[in-house]
Amino acid sequence: MLEAVKRACEPFGDKVQFIERSIKTNEGIEFMTAIGASNIPTLCIDGEITFVSNIPPVNDIKAAIEKRLNEK
């Protein structure tokens, strides 16, 4: 998941901020609980759970980023 997200983010440069939340840290567990995620890996875009568990195709992640950018 991490690699797929990094690749999907590359073309957007500094328009996208990438944060890794490891559940092997207290901060990561707190974030997971607060956001309401129950599976790993989970990808949240602007605080919304968007992809859960399976590695999404890079193009699907790019499309989700573009959609969110257009909404801003």
């Binding site: 983010c9 328009k15 944060i19 607060a34 790993i40 990808l43 602007d46 859960v52 399976n54 980023i65």
Partner: protein
Amino acid sequence: MRGKELLQQAFALKETDRTPWVPFVGVHAASLLGVTAEEYLKSDKLIVEGVSKAIELYNPDGIPIVFDLQLEAECMGCGLVWADENPPSVHSHPLMEGVELKDLKIPTINDGRIPVVLEATRQLRAKYPDLALYGLITGPFTLGLHLLGTEIFMKMFMDEQYVHDLMAFCTRVCNTMTDYYKSAGCDVVAVVDPMTSQIGPDQFEQFVTQYCTEVFAHIKAQEMYSSFFVCGQAQHNIEVMCACKPDNISIDENIPLEYVKDICLKNGISFGGNLLLTVALLMGTTEDCERNAVDCMDIGGNKGFILAPGCDLAYSTPKENLLAITNLITDDYRRDVVRALEAKVTNVTPIDKAVYGSSPKVIMDVICSRL
């Protein structure tokens, strides 16, 4: 009844006097000795010392020899990155670096760290004749991913025959490793195939079923028990995993234990899991671990259930947490006390989503299990 005999009852779906306990001690045993994961996994002497220490502390019914899914891959040319507190990880894939599939060789008994692991197995077998020893093999799909990298997902669409050829090769590796573990004295072979959680049941049936079925049939033919380990959100695949006919399926906290129990028992297969690896075992208190263990035991029941962590224990898992579970296994009174204790209420600060909306950037949070 305890040890191997108790686990045999569980595998056979017979009622057990108490819950069988199999702590998946991997590099956690290195921490018990105060050595690094790399030092540990390269030394049969340290593996024997570490597993012996874990047996002495945690009084298990069964235990893995090592929990290292890179053992076979390393022998076949995958480059590894070693870490002090984790098993190694694969960083290069021979089939992506010009090596042909036909040129890959099945590891021999003398390749890589296989002799280290087998020597440790022989010594532990002699030392603990009544304990179930688990030999772990890398499942064919995960091994294929090690050899080919993520290109395997592309080839599943673009070159199906290649993936079948690769899976057939990996199956031969699995069967060979089974033979090695049999000769060294293991009782159970665990086929660890976590990457199958990344495919759906249709792809599982197309690319995995026939190969894993062959692996489990081979284990049975060697008169050993088999377990199918998967981690990650693999709930969608539990039915198709059962169709491969393992003796047991072991899962992590991504899948509800109730669900796995229902599906497995319907298919005549025992099941195990799914203690919380990080929230309870690594970072929780002894009370958190006891409560989690009682929850698992109450759901699992006394027919076909094996209590185990969701996957291999983290290096730094406090031994007090595991000792608390060890004591709970045989202490009916303590289990009643834990049930009666009020669940701790955790205050969680909700995420302020306005922060996301007000930023000109799109913020991507990836929740993962990497350290």
